[in-house]
Amino acid sequence: MVGNDIVDIELAKRQSDWQRPRYLDKIFNLQEQQLIYASNEPTIMVWKLWSMKEAAYKLYTQVCPSRFYNPKAFTCNLKNGETVRYKSFLCETNTKTTIHYILSEARLKNKLTTSKVINLENISHMNQGKTFEKEALKLFATERKYLEKNLKYAKTPFGVPLIYYKSKKYNISISHHGKFGAIAIA
């Protein structure tokens, strides 16, 4: 099981004004807001914490299939690595920040995850789903050394992507924002 989230930094700056009144307070607790205000790059910190919460939410909903919207209840901690807590659920995250995107992966303790970022700039909306499917199967086949023809891509009723290998199934995670797509497998 794995959760991921990618933020296209340039698009996030255009799409969301985190400085509008009450915005931060809806998503971030006081400790998180302190991290944002203490940061040299507050905008990057906003989207880093956001992507950690989103990735953790996606992992949580694989563990407990459900759907809801409560980003504030997922609390980030940046001491001793990255962790996110939701009620009694705790996971690790790993966040990579480049000048173009922020990518978070959420995983259960001591599990390894692999991510791939894909550029969707020149792919039409209609073909994006197919591109994710193709790239996910390719990544899974390469990482697990399985033949691609033995793999099948599907989604759960909650929209979580899955890969079947013979009778076994593996949850994966996909994320899309602006120019970027990301696939994570565990």
Partner: protein, 83 residues
């Protein structure tokens, strides 16, 4: 305010964040903000803030939890206006 009046008030609030215009044209109570309108999840917060401003109400985190479709947004606004 009846249901049609409420939907008519909600539509211009939702409009700026919609990524699937076709789904927006056919908006009903069952329309899902994320799955149908393809609204970015960070923009759901903007919709919530805009709803608060428009109706002069405040939504708690528990109210936000189910704010995933038009029907639940209507139910939350109605309950706040009546409380």
């Amino acid at each position: 305010m009846n249901k049609d009046e409420l939907i008519a008030k909600l539509k211009p609030i939702i409009a700026p964040y919609v990524q699937d215009e076709e789904a927006f044209k056919n908006l009903t109570e069952d329309t899902d903000f994320v799955n149908d309108l393809k609204i970015n999840s960070a923009n759901l917060v903007d919709i919530i803030l805009d709803i608060e401003d428009e109706f002069n109400i405040r939504l708690e985190n528990e109210d936000m939890e189910q704010m995933l479709n038009v029907r639940s947004a209507m139910a939350i606004v109605t309950s706040k206006l009546n409380s």
